[in-house]
Symmetry: C2
Subunit: 222 residues, 2 copies
């Protein structure tokens, strides 16, 4: 299956919030729950998404928007796994903004989707600065990156409703203080949901999957 | 020892190249070799730097410029290890530019240093776009991030003279194709030096340290 690629232009910054609200309104009208997944390069976004979709696909119609600077390897992986996906190329930009999402939705009919995941560009700084129009933001932090990341990239942890601590299967290799990372995240964002899991082994996925189901149900009530 | 923190302002973009040349000229006049270290969050920049400095400190006078958005944890680690360091806060900016480096050098006398390392903000996108005025750029890619990163963040691999593949001690946990990553890097940048190493165990450090010594010698000849 050939991967469809969309090249998007950067939106005008001060219009971003208005466009983000439009994107959210349109998705809610369509009954589509859009989840923006953010992380450093290599934190496990694609692997986490594949396992998440596997767990949800019986009950929901799911699509993925893959945002990358120029490559299409993630959308190809999604297609191989049979997931409906679209590759967005940001043309050098370090994050998706609401206008880029809107341009993509104009070309990619998502009205029949229950859940639309967006895998944002691998970046802990720029992605956090843009409202993309997603209904929720999720950050994936992996054990190898270290438990000090909330101290160094605080905005990311402030804008996310949910933080996944991934690669828990690598505990023997990477010292990581669960309690410290929780305290650091909650001091920035007292309402954050925090789940420890491994996209490789599936450990800890049930709670995360339940959380998505609950959020999706709330969105449908609206 | 209290960490000194400098808050810098963003430079005017089109002046960046001119200022970068000024920074390089000044550093060369002083006999200071400046090395810009870039990587994703958590790839091991600080640990690699600490071990690198340990190996070089008998022969060179060394300083470190720690660039972060707002935290000072890395400069504190450097100070604890007895390394002369300065913390630069970029105020939300996702990368250092030449003007930020110049502002920092104006306040932090580096004229007696042989080697000045700059630990850039953790980011594979924005940092690659800015000439900081360093004489060489080094990228650290870690095994947990995956061997596909040159495909997804090509500019980073084009602008670096040297790529360190870090965390080789985690091979059993992370499938990583050494040959594939080398081919991907060299297809973007045929002259890139590539070293596989572990900042945790010290494996592979000799070649990297030799490379720095050779580059430093070349800089002194100029």
């Amino acid at each position: 299956m050939a991967v469809k690629v969309i090249d998007v232009k950067v939106g005008i910054f001060d219009e971003n919030d208005r466009i983000a609200e439009e994107v959210r309104r349109k998705n809610r009208q369509n009954g589509t729950f859009m989840i923006n997944i953010m992380a450093s390069p290599g934190a496990g976004k694609t692997t986490t998404l594949l396992r998440t979709i596997e767990a949800l696909k019986e009950d929901y119609s799911i699509g993925v928007m893959e945002a990358d600077i120029e490559a299409s390897v993630d959308a190809e992986k999604m297609e191989e796994a049979g997931v409906r996906s679209i590759q967005v190329h940001t043309g050098g930009e370090c994050a998706m903004d609401a206008s880029m999402v809107q341009q993509t939705l104009d070309q990619f009919d998502t009205s029949d989707l229950d859940i639309l995941f967006m895998e944002n560009v691998g970046n802990l700084v720029c992605t956090a600065e843009q409202d993309t129009g997603a209904q929720v933001n999720v950050e994936i932090l992996s054990l190898p990156e270290g438990d000090d990341k909330p101290l160094k990239y605080p905005l990311m942890f402030r804008v996310c409703q949910c933080v996944l601590i991934n690669k828990t299967d690598t505990r023997d290799y990477f010292p990581f203080d669960d309690q410290a990372v929780k305290e650091r995240i909650l001091s920035l964002n007292p309402d954050a949901e925090i789940f420890f899991l491994s996209a490789k082994t599936g450990e800890g996925f049930d709670e995360w999957i339940d959380w998505i189901r609950r959020q999706a149900a709330k969105e449908t009530e609206k």
